[in-house]
């Protein structure tokens, strides 16, 4: 139970709400943060639970299709249920989670010692599934290490440290605080940790790279993985491509996928080239053009990029798509999202993530599906074959063929 609670806490670091998605094989929890720069996925197989019962519910309008029951919950309401993971272990004997589709709420019941029963009824929203597609097996760099080591490394960085750069070569590994050209060195303390490859359970470096990612979002996974004591695998590539931290064992698996900062000059253009047919074609996108994440000051580098790639604030993206909710189902818009939503005067990181907003007529809420990483032709084929439970292809124009059935 503590593990489950820790998972919720970890996901809570990403966003305020998460997708609760029971499927036949188990329970999947997913979350994505508001700037679409971090995605968390935790899957508990049915064996993790003492008792797991799932029935498909069919939507009235789609008699032939059996949909599972994906729904969205607000984290803040769920967190108190699992507030103190340690206390949970001691006091709670059993926790049961049940939903009733006719009622719009989900019931969490904690049966505690001394006959105390705590029941929480939480409302949820029905929504469409959320998936991220990330071809882990295509990553040239894979490190596998016990979570203890990662925690020991991260403890050297101040809790306020937002971004960390991981730099690898075949002979060394280095985690350091992220600095950029206009960092004020006279005010910032910079920390660097050098490790030798021998410290890793598995060390494969196909390409020397230096990736920068957000530490805050990762800390949740670190705590969670310590609770499970499963080693953490890190899959990544060059800068600009996402980095995945995942853990996997018999009864659960989890992945946290974070975008990595890319050097404005180098990677941005190459990201785009990979899928020319998808980009810059949609007239609508320009209409939705840069209202930047308004509250945050735009960074100088980001401004440079505006010329080459229109920047769309995440609010716009969702807002815009919402406006299209009633349009034809297969309309696809691809929007490069560049600006992260970092607070303050930090350089707004340029996350070259591509993701797709599709408005599908069938369902009430928006359908978000995320493609991480280079969306290259090669990868499109690879995605059709990806096996990881994480990497499920989603409804898009290209994949309307064979993979659609694996959806949901």
């Amino acid at each position: 139970l503590a593990v489950f609670g820790r998972a919720i806490h970890a996901i809570a670091r990403i966003s305020d709400e998460f997708w609760f998605d029971p499927v036949e094989k188990g329970l999947a929890l997913r979350s994505v943060n508001s700037s679409r720069s971090a995605y968390a996925y935790v899957f508990f197989s049915s064996m993790f639970f003492q008792h797991y019962c799932w029935t498909a519910v069919s939507e009235p309008c789609q008699k032939e299709k059996q949909l599972s029951l994906p729904c969205k919950l607000i984290i803040k309401s769920v967190l108190p249920v699992f507030r103190c993971a340690n206390v949970l272990e001691k006091n709670v004997e059993k926790c049961s989670i049940s939903t009733n589709p006719s009622e719009q709420h989900m019931t969490f019941q904690l049966l505690c010692k001394h006959g105390v029963v705590k029941t929480y009824n939480l409302t949820f929203q029905e929504c469409d599934p959320l998936q991220a597609v990330f071809a882990k097996h295509m990553c040239p760099n894979i490190l596998k290490v016990h979570s203890r080591l990662l925690a020991e490394v991260m403890v050297h960085f101040p809790t306020s440290q937002e971004e960390i750069t991981l730099s690898v070569s075949p002979t060394k590994v280095c985690f350091k605080s992220y600095t950029e050209e206009d960092t004020d060195f006279s005010r910032t303390m910079i920390t660097e940790i050098h490790l030798s490859p021998e410290e890793f359970d598995y060390f494969q470096v196909g390409v020397d790279s230096e990736v920068t990612f957000c530490l805050k979002e990762l800390r949740g996974l670190l705590v969670f993985s310590e609770a499970t004591s499963v080693p953490v695998s890190i899959h990544f590539d060059r800068c600009g491509k996402p980095i995945a931290f995942s853990i996997e064992d018999m009864v659960l698996e989890s992945s946290f996928i974070l975008v990595t900062l890319c050097e404005a000059e180098k990677e941005v253009v190459s990201q785009e080239l990979h899928s020319p047919h998808q980009w810059h074609r949609n007239p609508q996108r320009d209409g939705n053009a840069p209202s930047t994440d308004s509250a945050k000051p735009a960074s100088p580098l980001a401004k440079q990029q505006v010329k080459s790639i229109p920047r769309v604030g995440e609010r716009d993206a969702t807002g815009g798509a919402g406006g299209e909710a009633t349009e034809a189902p297969s309309q696809v818009r691809r929007l490069p999202i560049l600006s992260g939503t970092r607070e303050g005067q930090r350089l707004t990181p340029k996350f070259c993530t591509t993701w797709v907003l599709t408005s599908v007529n069938i369902c009430i809420f928006q359908f978000h599906s995320l493609f991480f990483g280079a969306v290259s032709y090669k990868e499109q084929d690879a995605m059709a074959h990806t096996l990881q439970s994480l990497a499920t292809a989603s409804d898009t124009e290209e994949d309307l063929g064979p993979t659609q059935s694996s959806q949901v």
Partner: protein, 284 residues
């Protein structure tokens, strides 16, 4: 200007960390003065600090296994640096199991104290964690601002009560008032008082003892010939007192304070190899 030092002994490292933690609680920014045999942490009584000032002195030989320093010039063989002690404290915090800690003055993008911690690891090569702490080099022409403060002409000098007790008393009082009155007399009695519109609280300490101060040239100091029962008092900012007490992680060998009535309170905390003096001015 060069500086490099190394600590290998864990006990020395812990001790040094504790000193740095204490300093970090007292000052956001302070001056580090390096000489051949001593380190000084100095906070001068500028208005920005609320008038409080600090002088902390350590003998480098008690902490460092290696210590090499070259000052700005031969006849001024000292280095004055301005730094944020909290950074140093943080760098040392995770070094508690280190094999060695090296500190070096470098100048990459800007002058920095580079703290390199060598940590044991499961593999054959150790882990190295480096922290680059930015520092400011203080030019010689303003070194005079950082002279050792002299002991004021006090009215009463008294040993402090057990710091732990004093700390918990002051912490409770901090919730009620911003100003605390500290008063003491030559009979070893001290009172800590706060007074607000609604409530006034006084804590009395007895039998504390008054340290003997030998007057330097035999002339009468203001405390001699003074009525033993009469109290010298000063109203000070309670937060400063609380910070001083909170920063003490180990009981000092000697702890005393000198009160100049209505002017200033001078605290002296002595450990085996560290001495700390802290001046809190009285409020109007």
């Amino acid at each position: 200007m060069r500086f490099r030092a190394k600590i290998v002994d864990l006990a020395c490292l812990n001790h040094f960390s504790r000193v740095i933690n204490t300093i970090a609680k007292l000052a956001k920014t302070c001056t580090l003065r390096l000489t051949v045999c001593k380190l000084y942490f100095i906070l001068s009584d500028k208005v920005a600090n609320g008038g409080a000032s600090m002088w902390c002195e350590l003998c480098q030989g008690n902490f460092f296994d290696e210590f090499q320093m070259e000052g700005v010039a031969a006849e001024h063989n000292e280095i004055y640096l301005e730094l944020v002690p909290e950074n140093l404290s943080r760098a040392l915090k995770t070094a508690q199991s280190a094999k060695a800690v090296k500190i070096k003055l470098t100048n990459k993008h800007c002058p920095c104290l580079r703290v390199a911690v060598e940590l044991p690891s499961l593999s054959s090569s150790s882990r190295i964690v480096t922290h680059d702490i930015p520092v400011g080099v203080i030019p010689r022409r303003i070194w005079n601002d950082f002279r050792e403060p002299s002991v004021p002409d006090f009215d009463v000098s008294i040993y402090l009560p057990v710091l732990k007790t004093m700390r918990s008393v002051v912490e409770r009082m901090k919730n009620l008032s911003n100003v605390i009155v500290i008063e003491a007399n030559l009979s070893g009695e001290m009172n800590l008082k706060i007074e607000t519109d609604l409530v006034s609280v006084t804590t009395h300490f007895k039998d504390l003892g008054n340290p003997p101060w030998a007057s330097e040239d035999g002339c009468q100091s203001s405390s001699e010939g003074r009525d033993v029962e009469s109290m010298a008092e000063a109203r000070i900012d309670i937060k400063k007192l609380q910070q001083l007490l909170a920063g003490q992680q180990v009981n000092p060998t000697k702890a005393l304070c000198n009160i100049v009535s209505k002017r200033i309170v001078h605290f002296i905390l002595l450990h085996e190899d560290v001495s700390l003096q802290y001046f809190i001015p009285a409020l109007a």
